[in-house]
Amino acid sequence: MASSSSSSLSRVVVKSSDNNLFVVNKKVASQSQLLKQCIDNMEEKGTNDVILIPLSNVTSNILTLVLEYCEKHADFADDDNNNQELKQWDHEFLKKFDYATLNSLTMAADYMVTKSLLNLCCQFIADSIKDLTVQQIRQIFDIKNDFTPQEEADIKNENAWAFR
């Protein structure tokens, strides 16, 4: 385990819900407001020990992805936000996953308070919904149509202009 001789922490250990441990550089961890808060709290207490942060809602598979994102963004942290290379990377990063993974990643980003990743995921999902028919959206996102036929007919009638 990494240890630190300085008064501030340089690394933290994050534990996933399936009990895997990840050593994370502080700059990378700071991309998540949740982790950053934990680190700040510990530093205030003046501890020199490496701290362990358990994340009970995030599996190691998803945590790996969140950390991959944080790592990339930590590299660009001092750059301005409009960095084209980073945007391209973001897009390629999300493109790899199916919607189920994207959902888990979105929830993890929400839980770990990684706002830019949350925004990115929501935008990506919204972009996928655009231009699709209601039926296609249901299919892709596996949304069960739980309206009664009568209810559905009524709703379609009322909002026909938006129906595709």
Partner: protein
């Protein structure tokens, strides 16, 4: 670096389209606030469509803060009104940022529109736009009137009624959010104009277009936030009397009227566009001709950075020396909409140039129809000391007339920093806030040939770093 301690994961390259989440495999498992977050990134139409997905999405309603109904198409007014009502019913958000209706609505829909405006204010709307224009029908005395009652009772207007003011403090808050108000083909009384400026204390931009019913536009308490006022074709307007010390921009298009702006120390952008045909009643209102209009702004001229003006306004000014005050002017657009004023136009430009040492961009909009362009009196422009800052000149509606050529040569002689001359055969119109460059229909072959030759000749006289662009179609 994130080092994983004891797991073997596939490399990221192998993750393509594979489910490695496992637990939450449906979008519907996302919590409501994330769903709303996703929804807020859709257009209004797409957001409404999500309410058909399932009961849960339906219950979620719409919380998207931008209610822009421009895309909502309905052939019958009743259907349109119903649909808007329905969306407002679905709306579950706590705040509307923008509310926009673009649809030809008139008096019969009044009660619904009143309801929408009340709704928008209740939701703390920041941008409100109503555009009830329909093709050629620009509105008329029978158009919809912006209601007074949404602002509450009249006595609240009086600052002396302290008790009723305190009681209405919460009520007031709603109007405080409004920053941008655009009313096109919507009528407004002078009273409501005053109430709006009194109530909406955060209002920064106010646009009125194709308006009837507004005779005297004034406010009595200075409005501190108003930065931009745009009045286009307010048919009944007789007088504007505005107290807005922080006004930056005044854009006016319409008949020559009394426009009185008091103590606007920030005014930097001014547009005065008047129609070609004089108003038959005008001579009665302003017996000494039209120069009054410019005189009304004489104290602001030294502060202006941008000026858009019709040449007609200068018609009665004999001595241009009195215009020698444009000490901050950077951009000048001169609209020569009538071919009788071309010569005057260039004389005006030359004298403003002399008076505006910091002028950088000059645009000249030539008239759509040229009468006898081959036999025009010379400009006889006075010489000037070299102009150091003029960099770019644009000429719209070029026909190769003698005055324009003379002026271009004048520029080559005196505008020593000139970088670019853009000459366009296309004309330009600038209707209200909508600026368009369009193609003329009467562009005949002989005119085209004439223009081309003139430009060829002119190109030979170019020197230094001046770049000439000629767009002939």
């Amino acid at each position: 670096m994130a080092n994983k301690i004891n797991m073997d994961l596939p490399q990221s390259g192998e993750l393509k389209r594979c489910n490695i989440g496992g637990v939450n495999d449906r979008i519907s498992d996302l919590p409501d606030d994330i769903l709303s977050h996703i929804q807020s990134r859709l257009t209004l139409k797409e957001a409404v469509a999500t309410s058909f997905l399932s009961r849960r999405w339906n219950k979620l309603g719409i919380s998207y803060p931008i209610l822009d109904f421009e895309g909502l198409k309905a052939f019958e007014t009743e259907v349109f009104v119903q649909r808007v009502d329905k969306v407002l019913e679905l709306f579950k958000g706590s705040k509307v940022h923008k509310f926009r209706i673009v649809y030809p609505l008139s008096k019969p829909s009044r009660s619904h529109v009143n309801g929408w405006i009340s709704f928008a204010f209740r939701m703390g709307v920041s941008e409100l736009e109503l555009n009830f224009r329909f093709f050629a029908s620009l509105g008329g005395p029978d158009s919809y009137y912006f209601p007074a009652h949404v602002f509450g009772k009249e006595e609240m207007m009086n600052p002396q009624c302290a008790s009723s003011l305190t009681a209405s403090l919460n009520f007031e808050k709603r109007f405080d959010c409004l920053k941008d108000l655009c009313l096109r083909s919507v009528n407004l009384s002078g009273k409501v104009f005053e109430v709006i400026l009194f109530r909406c204390s955060s209002l920064e931009r106010f646009l009125l277009m194709y308006n009837y019913g507004l005779k005297i536009a004034k406010n009595t308490t200075p409005h501190l936030k108003l930065k931009s006022l745009e009045l286009y074709f307010c048919k009944d307007l007789e007088k504007l009397e505005l107290l807005a010390p922080n006004l930056v921009s005044l854009q006016y298009q319409g008949r020559e009227r009394t426009l009185c702006i008091k103590n606007a120390q920030q005014l930097a952008s001014l547009r005065l566009s008047v129609p070609d045909s004089p108003d038959p009643n005008e001579s009665m209102l302003f017996p000494r001709g039209t120069r009054f209009l410019f005189n009304q702004f004489s104290s602001y001229l030294p502060m202006l950075e941008s000026l858009v003006v019709s040449v007609r306004i200068f018609k009665d000014i004999r001595d241009f020396a009195e215009l020698c005050v444009f000490s901050n002017l950077k951009q000048l657009v001169l609209d020569v909409s009538c071919s009788f004023f071309v010569r005057l136009g260039y004389q005006v430009v030359a004298s403003i140039m002399r008076a505006a040492p910091y002028l950088e961009l000059l645009e000249i909009v030539l008239p759509p129809i040229f009468l006898g362009y081959w036999q025009i009196q010379a400009l006889e422009l006075a010489s000037m000391s070299p102009h150091q800052n003029l960099k770019e000149v644009k000429v719209y509606g070029f026909r190769g007339d003698g005055n324009t050529m003379e002026f271009l040569n004048y520029l080559l002689q005196y505008a020593v920093s000139l970088k670019k001359i853009d000459v366009m055969a296309r004309g330009a119109t600038w209707l209200a806030d909508d600026r368009k460059v369009h193609c003329y229909l009467d562009w005949k072959a002989d005119v085209a040939e004439h223009c081309k030759n003139r430009m060829l000749q002119f190109r030979k006289t170019l020197h230094g770093n001046v770049q000439l662009l000629f767009h002939d179609k």
